[in-house]
Point group: C2
């Protein structure tokens, strides 16, 4: 297609690579967030001054190559929040992709275009990234399946980094079958065994809007039936969701500043004010705060390791609310961003795999239920996604 | 002309308004920094997200109207450092105007395009602004006459504000006759009486590069002859040039933040990283620092009032060095910016009129000698400019 009413794809000629027949993903179309290298095409990174300062990639990113090798067809590169810093999907450079599930609302970010493209049916799956919530939030807001894999599980070669100790690459799908089909290729593993124990993160449910907690209740009950044992209520973050969020918001922006500092100092690029503000905040975090945050990260890792032995999953609302309206001002958005971080920080801190499952709405807008498992239980979470869809 | 090898004018169709015959400025061409309103044309302000958020002006800025009413011909609007925040003239949006006097060097800013256009002979004069040095620095770097008038002397209607307690509007010229001809229209006053006493700001000369101080020496001697009495050495800033600079750098960015905050919060505009960083720094200045800076401003005002009764002028290097090379990195530029502020802060703090006179070079690049007079002695400073040129 030559027009893009969804505004999911980056401006300019569409990046296209045909699929191949007779392979696991033959017939499947995919898009790649514009942080993933596609050979011969500048990687834009959501900032119009990035490509000018960086070489055109000569190789595909590992994840792109993986899908192509399995026969999938690349149909485009998608809009991303600038240098993956953004959680709402409103780009000062490329505009806001349409959230087909709730057109007056933001799609979520930073994997905004990938989520929007899948939600609108423009492709079957799409690659995104998740450092602080960039897969999970748009999955929740657009009503999609989306995974943040175990940190370190997938090869991130050819992916523009942000905060490497938290960066991951994932994918979206509209249905669990496609989600699992892509998962088998990306993980190199069949859907795993279903877990046998379910924990309910009462602190996270309590932190979400009451309407969200209520809307997710039927999904929690379905999860309990799939797991086959009575769920147990647990506090996920005994130190406080806001304390985990604080640790993540000290570590991630400081690391992002280190990632982008050489580019910024050499090229003084244009950036949305909010993105510059976030990086400057990252540059100003004192060592004492970062040192504390690193210790709190150890505590968060210990907590999730303790809560989540193999065969146990924890469920929580992916986001505390459905997608906010488009076009809010920065002072209106800041508290919303802060609340989102309180439910997403565990991903960047502890690195456990997390899948956001669609199936609930509030005021007609989607909101996702997340499941978190033990490290490297990614394939089990995909099995849960399939079972949830079958039981719906 | 349809091309712009100097890169002095804002992109797009050139703003042109014909002159009128039989008036004081008939036959004179001028350009206006893109902070001045020209009726019917969006005011860009050097930021590509500004015009979208602001109405197209229905009236000319006072200064534009004043020149048009005197018969001058408008030949274009000129590139400015973004929202007038910048002192070097390198724009992340519109590139760097050519400094015809030193092509490998920056033109200085923020009135970069106006200075470049006059220096290249694309017009006879050009309007600029000066909050923290934005007339004086490009005048020095491009080898032009340039004035920062007495604060409050000229009507700033239709001019995009930055820090109103320091904002002024001025003009450039290549020769003193044109400089004075425009001055008569802008000030509504003939060139004034020549001063009879000359002070030499020894702290400022000592702070400049020794090569700059040496290069300006013949001009100082010429000034002394014009004044007709032996010059007296004085410390301009007994509290320290760096202390005055600190006060200015606490007051001006804090005020600029208040000016631009509503736009930023509503529109999250794209900005060069350095500009966003400056505004954020302005937003973070504690009240205790601002309160101290306001007291120091009073001290600086008292000092210049004491030093500069009517008939006395003070001279100092306009800038501590000639224009830096183009394309330096942010860490290379920051100490240069800081040193420039040490010689420019008195303008924003005390509001006295200051004229930068061309006539010296270091390594082939221009550097200006500044004269400062009593408040409202603008016309006397213009008389000095004419006398200096006649005595050259």
């Amino acid at each position: 297609m030559s027009t893009d009413p969804v505004n999911a794809f980056v401006p300019g000629p569409r990046a296209r690579i045909p699929g191949k027949p007779g392979l696991p993903l033959s017939g499947l179309t995919f898009a790649a967030k514009d942080l993933f290298d596609v050979a011969g095409i500048p990687t834009g990174g959501g900032n119009h001054d990035w490509a000018r300062a960086n070489p055109v990639p000569e190789r595909h990113a590992w994840a792109v190559q993986r899908l192509l090798d399995a026969g999938a067809e690349l149909v485009g590169k998608t809009i991303t929040d600038e240098v993956s810093l953004g959680i709402l999907g409103e780009s000062a450079f490329d505009g806001t992709p349409l959230n087909s599930a709730a057109p007056e609302r933001v799609p979520g970010g930073s994997s905004s275009g990938s989520a929007a493209a899948v939600a609108a049916g423009l492709c079957d799956t799409a690659l995104g990234t998740d450092t602080g919530g960039s897969m999970r939030v748009p999955a929740s807001f657009c009503g999609l399946y989306g995974i943040r894999p175990t940190h370190g599980r997938l090869d991130l070669a050819g992916l523009m980094p942000q905060a490497p100790s938290s960066d991951t690459a994932g994918w979206f799908a509209r249905d669990a079958a496609t989600f699992a089909r892509v998962g088998k290729v990306m993980l190199g593993e069949e859907p795993g065994r279903l877990p046998t124990k379910l924990l309910i993160a009462v602190d996270a449910f309590g932190f979400a809007d009451p309407e969200v907690a209520a809307a997710l209740q039927p999904m929690v009950e379905r999860l309990a039936r799939i797991v086959g044992s009575p769920p147990r209520e647990e506090i996920m973050a005994p130190q406080g969701l806001s304390v985990w969020a604080r640790a993540q918001r000290s570590l991630q922006p400081a690391e992002a500043w280190q990632t982008f500092k050489p580019w910024i100092e050499q090229h003084n690029p244009r950036m949305a004010f909010s993105v510059a503000a976030g990086l400057i905040a990252g540059s100003q975090i004192p060592a004492s705060e970062r040192n504390w945050a690193a210790l709190m990260r150890e505590e968060a890792r210990a907590r999730l390791r303790y809560l989540l032995p193999a065969g146990t999953i924890l469920c929580l609302p992916t986001t505390p609310f459905p997608a906010p309206l488009r076009g809010l001002s920065l002072p209106e958005l800041q508290p919303l961003r802060d609340r989102i971080t309180c439910l997403c920080a565990q991903g960047g801190l502890a690195g456990h795999p997390q899948v956001s499952l669609p199936g609930a709405t509030v005021d007609g807008a989607p909101v996702g239920l997340s499941i978190i498992g033990a490290r490297d239980s990614d394939a089990s979470l995909i099995a849960v996604a399939k079972a949830m869809e079958n039981a719906a």
